[in-house]
């Protein structure tokens, strides 16, 4: 075990050393091949020009190579694979897609994913706004925010264990050790197997993601709310607007762009949700989602790469509008910068 850690540390040293060596060496090499203090001036000027056009690429090189291999090439390869059979060898046209449309599990996943998309971003944004406003007005607000923020550091698997314990079920008459069933029986209800109740169990899984992500929404929206100019609020108070009116008419419109960012960020996350479903139900009891279905097909029966790729494309298509919007937004921000 210690050996393994030493190996990891050795790699860090080697990797960092290698990176530094590359950047330093490539830089030095460029200076040597195209010396700026060449014998005649025209040569020196030409060298300097060449240097400054090559150097950025030396700095960018490793990043571009990694991005290409790990993200850009796979996108095209996945598109290509989605039109091929399970081994990725022979062309099958749209077969994988027409299979998906007919497959009951796939349809189930689409339905559930839509449900997740409808509920989770809205719930996180709503709770985030409410908590940001409430905690901003009390002296221990920072502590409260920290505690609500804390689940963001917990892995989806860890969170699933935490909530599986909350949802734990014991037969009727036994002492319930899951707090939800304990509360239900305390009020006189019957204990339920929450994660095995079709349709409603989706919501019990969503609660986990909402629990994790609300802290994120709170922090971002809280910062935006603090940026709302005070004079607009003062003017509203003078005009006699009530607190709810101030919140909805003055504050929310001014932070609308931030709300959109929070909403879209969580939307992208929801489309990729995998760990929670795998850990809680593995898609049983009608809880399947696209990301888990795709993982399933990657390995089921030796793996069906065609179908897996087709499912990945469906996820990608859902993300596409957000991606385009982001790029436009970044371009608008970038204008007038460096």
């Amino acid at each position: 075990m210690i050996q393994q850690l030493l190996y990891a540390l050795f790699t860090v040293v080697l990797g960092v050393g290698g990176c530094l060596g590359y950047f330093w060496g490539a830089n030095l090499l460029l200076d040597r091949i195209l010396p700026a203090n060449a014998t005649n001036d025209t040569q020196a000027v030409r060298n300097l020009k060449l240097q400054s056009s090559i150097r950025p690429w030396l700095f960018l090189g490793p990043a571009l190579i990694l991005l290409t291999v790990y993200l850009i090439y796979p996108v095209f390869q996945t598109i290509w694979l989605s039109f091929h059979d399970k081994a990725g060898t022979s062309f099958v046209g749209l077969d994988n897609y027409s299979w998906a449309v007919r497959d009951s599990q796939f349809r189930q996943s689409i339905f559930n994913n839509l449900l997740w998309l409808l509920v989770v971003p809205a719930a996180c944004t709503f709770f985030g706004l409410v908590i940001a406003v409430l905690t901003d007005r009390i002296w221990w607000g920072n502590i409260a925010r920290s505690l609500i923020f804390l689940p963001l550091a917990i892995s989806f698997v860890g969170a699933s264990v935490i909530w599986k314990f909350v949802y734990d079920y014991r037969g009727e008459g036994q002492d319930q050790i899951g707090i939800l069933n304990a509360i239900v029986t305390w009020f006189g209800g019957d204990p339920q197997v929450w994660i095995a109740m079709p349709f409603w169990n989706n919501f019990f899984l969503m609660i986990i993601l909402i629990w994790i992500q609300t802290g994120f929404a709170t922090v971002i929206l809280g910062a935006a709310l603090r940026g709302v100019p005070e004079d607009t609020l003062e003017a509203a108070v003078i005009d006699g607007a009530g607190p709810f009116k101030i919140f909805w008419r003055i504050m929310v419109p001014q932070i609308m762009s931030t709300i959109v960012v929070v909403w879209t960020t969580i939307t992208v996350l929801v489309l990729k949700v995998f760990d929670i479903v795998l850990t809680m139900t593995n898609g049983q009891w009608d809880t399947q989602v696209l990301a888990n279905l795709m993982f399933d097909w990657m390995f089921r029966g030796g793996g069906d790469f065609g179908r897996g790729a087709a499912i990945a494309i469906v996820i990608m298509v859902a993300v596409l509008p957000i991606m385009i919007w982001n790029i436009r937004q970044a371009k608008a921000d970038g204008k007038g910068g460096h």
Partner: protein, 381 residues
């Protein structure tokens, strides 16, 4: 700022609402922590919110075998203590020899049976079992009882999962995956970010647009092609630490470059220009000026990447595999849920070990974490 106008209903209601919300958010984790420290029999028999109170528990024990009987005053007797050699203890309140009805006789009273046998079990577990004729059979009679168990906390669950459930090994595996996967992308991204922020580059706008686009590309798009690529590359990448380090580096780069670029681009222009006038080349500027000044952004990214890699399950399952010498904590925890589904003492302790590192990182470096969140999503997500 918001103090300027008062929300009705009153402030007491406000405090109450926040307390309620905070409770909703912290109680699940508290339950996990408390349970992981409880005795395993107690976890299974009473809710964790009862951890501080004495609980009633049903249990069973076996009396000594008939070969240890003694003859006394014309009858036969077996005597001993139900807790002898057992881990459980407590105060017995009722007992019975029938499993359906463990509370048949109060402790200290004598149970008389039709065949003339009598049994008395006391609160401390001691018992006397008598019979007019010699006991026969090979094994002792089973006794079921209800006992009061005082609150009991233990770290036994932790030593069990660390040393005999393989969580210790997985912890080391997770560290092995996480440390290089966090540090390696930082340098690569910092150089790229500097080039994109301050160097003359023909296609800069395009490259930035591509990186922003890659920010949201689902990981799922990369899995199958990379899995094929790794399988082709064979034993050097497939299911190796090197393979997963590179994968996490690749997946982390868009966010790293995006975050660092926006920070580095915001550094004062004069500083960099005056260094250029002094004849410093880009490498020197990067090392002497950019790196030290971007420390907050580097720290933000490091925390993000650390949390993301430590908490990742998908990439680890696909690229590193599930062999015991490679299984990371998240995978190990997931498989324990399958194999030890009802053993909450194992699950809660294991889960707490997996979340303690991110929580520690989070609490000690929350400032940088929040800064990164704001920089990463207020502008364009």
């Amino acid at each position: 700022m918001l103090e300027r106008f008062r929300l009705e209903p009153s402030r007491a209601f406000l405090h109450l609402a926040v307390i309620l919300i905070v409770a909703l958010w912290t109680v699940p984790t508290a339950g996990l922590l408390v349970s992981s420290l409880r005795d395993k029999n107690l976890i299974a028999s009473s809710g964790w919110w009862n951890a501080l109170t004495t609980s009633e528990q049903s249990g069973q024990g076996r009396m000594k075998a008939p070969d240890q009987q003694v003859e006394k005053d014309g009858h036969f007797e077996i005597a001993g203590n139900l807790f002898e050699g057992e881990k459980s203890s407590g105060e017995i309140t009722a007992f019975s020899t029938r499993v359906q009805q463990p509370d048949q006789y109060p402790a200290g009273t004598t149970a008389a049976y039709d065949d003339g046998k009598t049994l008395i079990v006391n609160a401390d577990g001691s018992y006397v079992y008598t019979s007019p004729v010699a006991f026969d059979g090979k094994r002792g009679q089973r006794v079921f009882y209800i006992s009061k168990v005082p609150p009991k906390f233990t770290t036994e669950n932790y030593s069990t999962v660390l040393f005999s459930e393989g969580i210790g090994q997985s912890f080391v595996n997770s560290l092995t995956v996480t440390i290089p996967s966090t540090i390696i992308p930082i340098l690569i991204a910092a150089f790229a970010a500097y080039a994109l922020a301050w160097m003359k580059l023909p296609a800069r706008g395009l490259i930035i647009a591509i990186i922003v686009g890659l920010l949201v590309v689902p990981l799922q798009m990369s899995l199958i092609p990379l899995l094929r690529l790794y399988n082709m590359a064979g034993s050097s990448l497939s299911q190796t630490y090197l393979g997963i380090w590179l994968a996490h580096t690749g997946f982390g780069l868009p966010f790293a470059i995006y975050l660092l670029r926006s920070y580095i681009a915001g550094l004062p222009k004069d500083l960099i220009e005056s260094a250029q006038v002094d004849g410093a080349n880009d490498f020197k500027i990067f090392r002497r000026i950019i790196l030290p000044l971007s420390f907050p952004a580097l720290a933000s990214f490091a925390i993000f990447q650390f949390l993301w890699v430590w908490n990742d399950l998908l990439v680890a399952m696909v690229f590193l595999g599930t062999a015991p010498d490679k299984a990371v904590l998240t995978y190990k925890l997931n498989s324990l849920l399958g194999s030890r589904g009802g053993n909450w003492e194992i699950l809660t302790a294991s889960a707490f070990i997996t979340i303690i590192v991110p929580l520690a990182v989070f609490f000690s470096l929350q400032r940088y974490f929040v800064r990164g969140l704001l920089a990463g999503s207020v502008k364009g997500g």
